[in-house]
Structures are given as C-alpha cells and as structure tokens.
Amino acid sequence: MGKRQLAMVMDLNKCLGCHTCTVACKQLWTRDEGMEYMWWNTVNTMPGRGTPRDWEQMGGGFREGEAQPGRLPRRAEFGEAWKFDHEGSYYGGQGDASHLGIKGGSPDWGPNWEEDEGGGKYPNSFHFYMPRICNHCTHPACVEACPRGAVEKREEDGIVTVNEDRCRGYRFCQSACPYKKMYFNHQKKVAQKCIFCFPRIEQGVAPACARQCPGRVRFVGYRDDEAAPIYKLVDKWKVALPLHPEYGTEPNVFYVPPVGPVSYGADGDIDESKPRIPDEYLVSLFGPKALDALVTLKAEREKKRTTGASELMDLLIAYEWKNMFGGFDRSPEAVSVIHWRKKS
C-alpha cells in the first residue's frame, strides 16, 4: 500500500458528451507515432457497447481475490485513426466530384461509434454519457499481470504508469485490465496508458481532462483528504461509486450515477416514481449502492430546491472550480517548466 492515493470523481449528471476531455488528452499525450488510435480518455453514450467494443465481456480483473482470465482486445475493436483526403478533395482538380471521405475503406467501429443512440423506446428513450480514463486501481490487475514489473503503481500518489524501458510488449496487462484501458503501441511495441497527467500533478496542476471540462464534471484530489470533495462525495455522502466494483480491482475513479428523467405513460401520466433509466441497469454498472446514491441525490436536490441549502448539491454544482481540485488548482501557464517528455 502506497502512502497516498489520487482519485477522481465524475458527475454523470453533468456530462454533456462534448469530448473536450478527450481532445485535451489527445492533444497533450497521444499524438506520437503509434498512438494515433489511442484515446486514453473516452466518452461513450450509455447504454452501449463502449470502447473497445464490448469491453465489459472481455474478462480480466479479480473475483474473490482470484485473477480472472481476460482476452486481448483487437485493433478493430478500438477503431483506427481514420485519415481523410483533404489534399485530394481541395486541390485534386476534381471539382464538385471531389469527396472528403475516409481513406482506404469503410470502418465499422470507432471510439464513439454509438454516440447519442442510447436505450429505451420513444418517448421513454434515455441515454447518458460516461467518460472513462484509467481507474488507477488500488489493486491493479495490469501491475500483477506484468511479468517484467514494467507497470508500476507510484508510491507517492498511486498513479499507475508503464515503464516503457522495461516493457517488452507481452500485453498481459491488456488482457488483465477488466476496464480495457491499457493500450498497445504497435510501432514502439510497448504498452501505454493514461498517466493521470502526473507531470502536471507534480506541479500542482489538475489533469487536463478535468481542468478543461466545461461542464465541471470532474473532481480531483487525494482519496484521504477529508476536507476535499473526493472524500466528501465518496465516503461522507456515498454518492460516488466505482464502475463495476465486482471486477475486484478497487478503482480510484468514481461516478455519481445519473438521476435521469422520469417515465411518461401512454395515458399521459408522468410517473415520478418510475425512472426512465432502469434501476437494474445502473446497478449492473455501479453495484447495488447505486440505488442508495440516487435516493440521497434526489433528497438533496429537493432540499436545495426548497430550502436553498445542501452541502452535497453545492459541492456538485461546483460554484468555484478551484474547490473541485483538492489543491491541484495551479494554472498550467504558471508552471514555468514541465518536463512533458522524457529526454531522449
């Protein structure tokens, strides 16, 4: 057990699926060769097959402490970094016959393929967005699966990283991770993954996905900092829950489940007691505690609505963005030198 553990809470009631987080991460970390197809941060429309496709059926993780077999996600299940024929379209002399299409064939999957599809039946359709990064688990399957000891959990903050010098590209980590958030660089033949923006963290700057989120969805901080929002949301109010706790890796990314709209009967009755997002679906994602969290959220919303005062709702509304980051609120501009890359 390390000294401390960094954690993140994402409030799914506020995520609007804009992918600013995804793009922030992409621009900062995964633009090099072999990383084009990687999205350390993804946002998927739920319910859906997610990314990589059907990752929840790929196994890995632990059951009652026992490592579970997992399978390797295929390239096609992540989707490729499609290229587009800008040159040909604009300067190819084809006039109105030119087409800015996907080069080289027609893909059938991508990192956000099922965007805005969701579930239910009109008019009781529903969907919500779920951003995912590496969960920086307390009991990380990727660390245990690596025979080289190349996947490391940092002592000081619990961030899980890959030591690319030690990695030999065996990819056991990829099979073992039940969240399928380990990526493989096919050019460099090494595993790569979300690093919780540790070079920023070390300078007191929140990860880019959190800092740039226009919806103020993400809270960042040490898990044990009782004065900060993570502790309050996870431990005090118990409204933030890990995704698939049954995978047994003890994630350090937590989700505030979506309350969602109520259902609308064919007879025109709006049934406040019947949610459109089925309870059993949320339980399948976040475990049985999801229902307790919803009860608390609804009660506190009502309290806020009627009395104007609720510690929980004030936290979630996040009037001041700085209060969301447990002290990691320095501006990236203010940090004079960040060694983003290892010098070669």
Binding site: L16, G17, C18, H19, T22, V23, K26, G79, A81, W82, K83, F84, H86, S89, Y90, D96, A97, S98, H99, L100, G101, I102, P107, D108, G110, P111, N112, W113, E115, D116, E117, G118, G119, G120, K121, Y122, P123, S125, H127, Y264, D267, G268, D269, I270
Partner: protein, 656 residues
C-alpha cells in the same frame, strides 16, 4: 385553459399588451384616431373605458403626443378587456361595432382545447394541462426561444404564441421569467467604428455627438439603403425561385400564390430591397464572413447560377469551405487566435469577451481588417492613377473611390487595436473597461452598462446592475416605457392586409407545409456540438470521434419498416432530389422524424449532395409585409428569411 381558469395576469395584460385595444368589426383593423377624429393622430389606438363607456386613446401609441407616451394608466382609467356594446361613429358618419383584440383572441382560443392541442403536437392532453398550469402559476417562468422564424415556415406564429403565453401569465419583467430570444449587450462602438466617418474624433463623454452620429447613420440607411437582403437576392439569381415560390410547398390555405404576394410587395415597394435592374446577377463577387454554399438552403445551386455567371469571384476566408472551392481568388484570413477581436455580446454570459492574438497568422494570411485596408489603399491609388473619382454606388449613390482608404482607415488613424479601443470607449456597455484591464483578466470583463441601441432593439434595460442578472424588458414593465411597436404595447394583433388575408392577425396554429412534396417523414436539423457551424466540421480528430462522415438519426421502427440497418448508406429523398448518408438508429428520435446535425461540407457527402440541397425553403408571405407601423422591411428588423425544418422526406436503403 389559462384564461378559462383565470390564471392570466389581468393587470399586466391591460397595461402591457394590445389585447384591450379596439378592433373595427367592418375592416378587422384596429380603430385609429384618424378613423373618428378629423385631423386625428396617425397610429393612435384606443380602448373602451368600462366606467366612462367611451373610447380612450392609449398613451402608449406610437402616434401619441411624443413627450406624454407611457404605458402607465392614469387614475380613473379603466380599460375593458372584453367590452360590451362598444362602438364608434366614423368620420363617414357610419357607426361600427368594436371588439377588443382580447375578445377576438378568446374566440380563437376556443379552437384549441388541450385535446385538440394533443392531436396537433402528439403530447398527451394531461401533460399540456399540467404544463399550462405550472407555467401560469410559477413564481417566474421563462421561454427561452432558440429556433423559430429561421427554421420553420410558421416560426413567426410559434414565436408569437410563445410570447402570448409569457404575456398572459405576466412573466415579463420577473427575474428569470418571460420570453427571451437573444438579448444582446449591443456595442454601439462597434457600429460607430464601422460606419461613421471621423470616428476617431468622437468622444465617449459627448453622448449627444455619438447619438447624433448614430441617428445620421440611421437616416442615411433609411433614405438609401446600402444593403440587399440575401433572401431576396437568392430569389432572383440563385436558381431556387421555383422551389421557394411553389404553392404546393407552402401554406395550403393561402388564398393566392406566393408569387402574387411577392409581385404585389415589390410593386408597392413594401420590400425596399427588391431586385431591380441594377441588381442583376453580379459580375464580380467579393464574398466575406460567410459561406453561402453552406448557409443557404439549396446553396449548392449557386455553382450553376450566380457563381457561374460571375466573371471574378474573390473569397476572404479562413479555410477551404464550399464557397472557397468555387472561388477564383482566395484571400486567406487569420484564424481567431491570430487576430484581435470581440466575441458575441450576448446577455446570458454578460461578459465582454476579448479574442486576442496569441500567435502570428499562418503563411500568407492576414487579419480581415488588414486585408481590406490593403485593398482599399490599392483601390484609392488606382483610382487616382486612372483619374477615376466619383462612381455610382448602389441606387446611384455617389462614391468617391479615391477616398476609399481614407474613409476605411479614418485617415490612417485606425488599426485593429485602435478600433478595439474605440469600441470599448464609445460603448456604454463597456464604460471604464480598457484593453489593458481585459488583457490582465484573461480577456473577460463584466459589462458595466447597457447601450442606447440595445435598449431599443434587444431588450436590455436601464436598470441593469453589474453583479446582478440582467432582467430584460424592465424599461417597459417597471418604467412603463412603450414597446417599439405601433401600439406601443406587446402587440399580438397585426392588422396589415396580408396578415388579415391569410388569417394570421393573431397567433394561430397552421399545419406544417409539405415542403418538398408529399412524403411521410420530416427532416429536422440542429446545431452540431462538433463544430461552430461549418468551421472545424472537417477536422480529422473530431471526425474520428463520430463516424467520419455525415449521418442521419432515425427511429429504429422507421428504419426497420424500410429495411435499413445501422450504418447502411441511405438515400433521403423528396421532389428536389436526394442525399446519401449513413443511418444511425436511436429511440431518442421520434417516429416520423429524420434528424441531421447541420454544417457538413458538401464534399463530406459521398456524392457531393448535401441535406440543404433538398430543402425548398418556401417563403413566408407575411414576411413580405411592410410600411405598416412597426412592420417595416429593415435590416435585422423584419425581412424575408429561410427555413428548413418543414422539409418532407422519405428514405430508402442505398445500394451502390
């Protein structure tokens, strides 16, 4: 329901709306003072006083004594909302019965009980009743309207009905209440620096001078407009006329063809910017700040019409959009972070947003202002060299070409930074805000006041306080200043002959037209979150987070009925043609709806045909009204527009 259950705000309705005003039973027009008083004031309207049993002329009227205009009722005044036995003796000696517009409205509303509304909307009557009651009884309720007139043919009727609901329930003037579209913190300095000569000599503390310059500018524009409505121009030379004027695509209850309404409006001069001989298809097109191929319905037809007819096409643009692809010369402009600028001054984020230059423009690109300055300089020099001085501008207005650069740059005194400083100095909304202060605060500053212009046009209000939310229309609801309409009230009854002829003098429901033909589905559109209109619509990194090419969203039942599966190539078609897209199936889309997010470039469609190519954009005949009180054809005030969301379509699986 709101009226039947007495949930309407009677004092508000009597004071702020035209609903108590009297309408003649013979002409269905408002009674005007000129009807009954020799030498009466024009545009002066009356109500029936229920105590005195006589007509009282409303002090709100546009034609009322200028210094005495107000919405405030005087002690002893009792306007009747539904007068009985009201009549007037006309100058002709004839006596006519009078009704209030409220009582006419009440008759009309009888057609719309919750059951009928349920049939029209597909929303259950119980929900409609609940919504109506909650809206009427809320401490404050707001309708924030984002899409109406420019989206559907009867968008004006929809908006008028929404405003009526907000007015009947007295919500205007309540914090967080009423009806709002886009309230702007208008920046007077922006208009001044663009249009007024010697703007550098204007001083912020000389409000009389500034107001004088604005007034002079307005008079010049009214006397000889330099502006041609894009929609009118499109009717003339964009190859869209037969679709836009097709009666089968328009309101089927129109008594005459749209073409006849258009001809009549042009003949009467109600639409001032009519296509006269001087406006034949232009020989030289200089396009800037817009992408007409994309932002006009059937815009692609420009390639075979206006753009084909032109000898030279110059496009000032920041990317290779559809218009750029059809131009001869491209003048590359700097992108947002490469030049100084101001962003939208919208009231819902009540902050001035500076867009500052953080990097030098790429390649040969320059700021828009800089490109035009260079062109103006060259035009002046060339005019001097050739001895060409005054030329005829639009409608024969003389223009001295040798002075082009002098006027554009205010004798060389202007540059982008100077203009920005002028905007800040000359706009009451930014009083006290300096460029230096903005830069020190990441380019953001709370507006410090409201503009004179903004108050008139945009619903901002004198009672704006920094650090409090802006409540629109307080000038009317609290200060009792008349609204900018003929009656000086929120005016729901429009007695222009076209409105009377087509039965739209009051907000009514009209069935959506069959734009594009008789097809079972409706094509809807909306703003994408992947781009700002078509800017960045073709960015690889964002396309990879979609499906890389245009898609429609359809209900799974509609898709199944047509044998269409997810990601099938699908032809969406109607009388005008078809476009090819991938299908995405989602229960979030209503059966009968085909949804496409906007702003795809035509080159992103597999065969270049885009969704706009099948939208016939029928013209709304009431938009051809003019010269009638506040219904005047003016830029940004009342014009013919476009629409796309009444387009009827069907779709089928496409096999290549």
């Amino acid at each position: 329901m709101i009226i039947d259950e007495g949930l309407h705000d009677v004092p508000y309705v009597i004071e702020q709306t035209d609903l108590p005003l009297l309408v003649r039973s013979d002409t269905r027009q408002f009674l005007r003072e000129t009807d009954v008083v020799e030498g009466g004031r024009p545009e002066c309207f009356g109500w029936w006083d229920e105590k005195k049993r006589e007509i009282v002329w409303s002090a709100s009227s546009a034609g009322y004594d200028k210094d005495k205009r107000t919405l405030k009722l005087q002690p002893g005044e009792h306007p009747a909302l539904e007068p009985t036995g009201a009549e007037a003796r006309l100058l002709s000696g004839k006596t006519v019965a009078l009704r209030s517009s409220f009582s006419i409205l009440r008759d009309r509303l009888a057609d719309y009980d919750a059951e009928r509304a349920a049939k029209i909307t597909g929303v259950h009557a119980k929900v409609i009743r609940r919504f109506a009651r909650e809206f009427a009884q809320a401490r404050s309720a707001i309708i924030y309207s984002g899409a109406a007139c420019a989206k559907i043919l009867h968008g004006d009727l929809v908006a008028r009905a929404q405003i009526l609901m907000a007015a009947l329930t007295g919500n205007n003037g309540r914090p967080g209440g009423g009806w709002q579209e886009m309230t702007f913190f208008e920046l007077d300095g922006k208009i001044l620096s663009a249009f007024v000569e010697n703007v550098c000599d204007l001083k912020a503390d000389d409000q009389a001078g500034i107001w004088g310059a604005l007034t002079q500018m307005g008079q010049q524009q009214a006397a000889s407009p330099t502006y041609i409505s894009g929609s009118m121009m499109r009717l003339q030379d964009a190859g869209t006329r037969s679709e836009q004027l097709n009666p089968a695509y328009n309101d089927p209850t129109l008594p005459r063809s749209p073409e006849q309404f258009l001809k009549e409006a042009l003949a009467r001069g109600d639409v001032h910017n009519h296509p006269g001989s001087e406006l034949s298809s232009p020989e030289i097109i200089f396009n800037m700040f817009g992408n007409p191929f994309r932002n006009s319905r059937m815009g692609g037809r420009l390639a075979q019409t206006r753009f084909r007819n032109a000898r030279l096409i110059v496009d000032l643009t920041l990317r290779m959009d559809d218009t750029a692809r059809h131009s001869d010369i491209l003048l590359p402009t700097a992108a947002p972070y490469e030049k100084l600028g101001v962003k939208y001054s919208v009231a819902y984020p009540p902050y001035f947003h500076l867009g500052d230059k953080v990097v030098e423009p790429l390649g040969e690109s320059k700021s828009d202002w800089g490109i035009l300055a260079l062109l103006a300089e060259r035009v002046s020099a060339e005019a001097r060299r050739r001895g060409v001085t005054t030329v005829k501008g639009y409608r024969g207005r003389p223009y001295d070409l040798t002075r082009t650069h002098e006027r554009y740059s205010d004798k060389g005194r202007l540059d982008p930074e100077k203009i920005l400083r002028l905007i800040l100095e000359l706009s009451p909304a930014t009083k006290g805000i300096t460029l230096e202060a903005l830069r020190a605060n990441k380019g953001v500053a709370r507006y410090t006041g409201v503009s004179q212009l903004g108050k008139m046009w945009c619903g901002t209000t004198e009672d704006y306080k920094v650090d409090e939310p802006l409540v629109a229309f307080l000038d009317m609801s609290i200060r009792k200043r008349p609204w900018p309409t003929s009656t000086g009230r929120q005016q729901f009854y429009l007695d222009h002959s076209i409105f009377l002829e087509v039965g739209e003098e009051l907000p009514v429901h009209k069935e959506p037209p069959r734009a594009g033909g008789r097809y079972p589905l409706t094509l809807t559109c909306g703003h994408t979150r992947w781009s700002i209109h078509s800017a960045w619509r073709d960015l690889d990194i964002l396309l990879r987070l979609q499906r890389g090419e245009p898609v429609i969203f359809v209900n799974p039942d509609d898709a199944r009925a047509r044998g269409v599966a997810d990601h099938d190539y699908t032809a969406v078609h109607n009388d005008l043609g078809y476009f090819l897209v991938r299908a995405k199936l989602t229960p979030g889309i209503r059966p009968g709806q085909v949804h496409i997010y906007h702003a795809w470039l035509s080159t992103q469609f597999v065969d270049g045909r885009d969704n706009d190519s099948i939208c016939p954009s029928p013209i709304k005949v009431t938009q051809l009204a003019g010269k009638h009180g506040h219904i005047v054809n003016e830029i940004g005030w009342y014009e013919v527009g476009q629409n796309d969301r009444d387009t009827k379509v069907d779709f089928r699986k496409h096999v290549a």
